[in-house]
Symmetry: D3
Subunit: 189 residues, 6 copies
């Protein structure tokens, strides 16, 4: 599985969640994850979470750390599981690398969301393209421009790029060992 | 999704990881998870993890808390993801309910295993039957009879049954919200 | 499985056969079926039955009882089977609730169509969206505006809404027991 | 799709529901259905319906008309739908060919079962083999030896072999047109 | 499987690689292959091979023999295999029917491409539509208008239409016997 | 994809075609192919080709070059395609490396078989295990002990081990580029 941090200020507006983007833009063939830091402002036309659409939700943030992962040979149900493992990994890295015990001790994962107390740290969606699974996961770098009470990497005292590298390192290890796990177990009756 | 704690002292020997067991033994139809406390002694003939077979591993423990989950409409890759989410939930419940800070602070999930420092808390396997996915996950209740250095619920000061109920409550919520997540997202191009 | 009769006069023009419509419009999550009474006038651009397109068919009716069902975790082949079971249920409900023996005695199902003698009662199509199966099934409430000789609920002496409720009640029972049937049978060699 | 009536008195004991049987015994390659008249006595070791196993059900009859169908490129969910369509076809053929109005007028399909009033006409199971779907469907030819109140082809005044041919003719037409239906519809968004 | 050579001069521009085209244009239902001789000029908007898009490739030829195949009940991975078998068949037919030993002796298949020495004979792509697999395969009839050094049926001394018929005859036989092969083998443990 | 030539004289009796064998015996995880030279004598109980079973075929040879490949994330239909590509590769390697023009010029592939004139060079079967596809392909090293007229590597003047290495090198390249091809193409409508 390939990973890469991109030095760009690109706005995430939802149009980026399309199949083969990591390959066509960054020559990353197969399972992959890219990340970058940039604003988030998802346009309604690119909003794909039915729950958000029903709620008329706004999905915004002035500066977020974005991850876009693409997985092949995967169903949507599997991708939703992988998305939550990514959330779990993000929480683990915060717990291991942040020294801000007050916010760390309140961390919890609820489905694909991460909170510290009542403040939301992240947004995420998993979907299926005709030939792959796609995941967007983003973490606030600062709290400006968010439509709900949030917490950000700033309060955790963490640098976004360093954090991104550690999350991607663990995520790639997770996916690779998951693939292997499907190839070394006998089936049951 | 149905869950149930069973009052039995049944030995887990690997023969229990077969499709429809939760239905045929406990009338639990569909996605389900059962748990109980009993010895663990997996016979080679029921060992299905190729890695264990290659290593000639022993899978034993005098008293473990067992979980057997069965999921339908799921691939093996998805089941491996679910298995790791279950490990993540077990770790979360330990962190939230145990007061033994020394062992809690050393907790980490590595794939489908949970450790506190170098001591292993759990064993697990996920496999596919012809019409379902099956997961066995077990946590040491005591450290006796284990072939490697282990840690157990005892050091965490936790009662196995209470712990089992909380893990299953969260696990069922996880699976149910995962199923829902696949039914409310638009597909991507 | 959720069902709902909608009090609307909406024209069915084919654009309604899209994934997640029952959820995004009526908050019905998961397997679902909605019905309503309204005109039918399928535009060529929304016509998806290749046979109709080859024949240059017109799909019209001044007043029809429409059903739109969405099923998850289903293939197109399965959906075509479900569509025909829906036709079979419609025929059963006509036979059980109509007192008009002359038209009832001539009822027959031919694939996904229902006829009384040579007169056509219904139209239907089943298709696949990227993450679900979709079925449109419609029954003439009156015979006006149809491009071929038709029969309608009027000749059967039946009220469309009452009829719709009974069809949906049986259809939901059918799907639910089908789902269960896949979760309680042992596989074969 | 191939069909064949076999002149044999073979007892159906459940061991016949295995993949490739129609091919290996009768050279019928691909989707196929065979039928014959013989006793039914399903041994517990070959019983695969979990509901029957839980209930300790007996599956017997002195003389039944058996159908064994095998379908390729089909899921278990699709096969359960096909099984119910087969039940629907059996009911249709009874209604069209029997002159015994008293028993015909009480006919109803309930899932994969057919009843006339409270008397059971048929038994059935659908399952999945590693590379195909398998369906057993059987109709009482006489009422002797059945563990529950039954009705049989005798009360319908019908000859088993003639009846079998008409059922298989319609069933093959159904499957063939279902396969075609999946190859001439445009997908939805 | 149906096949047909079409007498047309249609330009292949990439827009032809859509599901159901062989059915909607030529009434060929199910697995099918059509061929014709015409120019090739794939517009960027219809280019689907990511490698071509990354390389800014031109896909052109003044006169090529085109094949468009559509297969149902097939994955993209299977379609890529079928595509390479088609390339293999094209090579076999060249070897068997051409008398031009110099170019024949240099023939080789490399993935889905065919070369004679360093000269390229063919272009090809396999993709997946929502309900089928699609393959475009084209062989130069003459060398004019191609962006790279090419070889054509002219050097092999072969008539395009005769060649097309033989290729399609073998290809249909291949697919039909592949389908059969999946229906007469027992599964493994 | 991993490959390995094994120095053993093991008899191939059909029992070797089981999932995970390359992993459990040779630590080769994931897609893999092994080969060795040894007798062939497939016992009826391990014969899985229905055609052979119907014909009462004997599958024997005193010395054959065996290949066993296992592929994950593959359907049986895809595996049958891969099996024929392997046959095609075997034929290509014979054509490129043998100097025996008389037998080379008569080479042809017919489905999964290779012949030189009327003499059979190879045997093969592809099947599906619960979590993988399995292929056995074997080429006569000598003609002794075969139940039909055969040709062998001896007539081609080729050393079995050298030949095996070249076949596996090309086969691994084929599978790897096939996997890649599924991850760089846009889907069609």
């Amino acid at each position: 599985m390939k990973s890469r941090f991109i030095d760009t200020l690109e706005v995430y507006d939802g149009s980026q969640l399309v199949s083969l983007r990591n390959y066509l833009k960054y020559q990353m063939l197969g399972d992959s994850v890219v990340s970058w830091v940039g604003p988030c402002d998802v346009k309604t036309e690119h909003m794909i979470d039915g729950e958000d659409l029903l709620a008329g939700a706004e999905i915004r943030g002035e500066q977020m750390l974005h991850f876009i992962a693409e997985l092949f040979d995967s169903s949507l149900f599997a991708a939703v599981g992988v998305q939550r493992l990514l959330a779990s990994i993000v929480k683990d890295v915060l717990q291991l690398t942040s020294k801000e015990d007050a916010v760390v001790s309140l961390l919890r994962r609820d489905g694909d969301d991460i909170y510290s107390g009542d403040k939301k740290l992240s947004i995420s969606i998993a979907t299926q393209s005709p030939n792959s699974s796609l995941i967007h996961f983003a973490v606030n770098v600062v709290n400006r421009g968010t439509p709900v009470p949030t917490i950000s990497l700033q309060e955790f005292g963490l640098d976004a790029k360093t954090f991104a590298h550690e999350v991607m390192r663990r995520f790639c290890g997770e996916i690779e060992s998951m693939r292997e796990a499907t190839k070394k177990v006998k089936s049951a009756r």
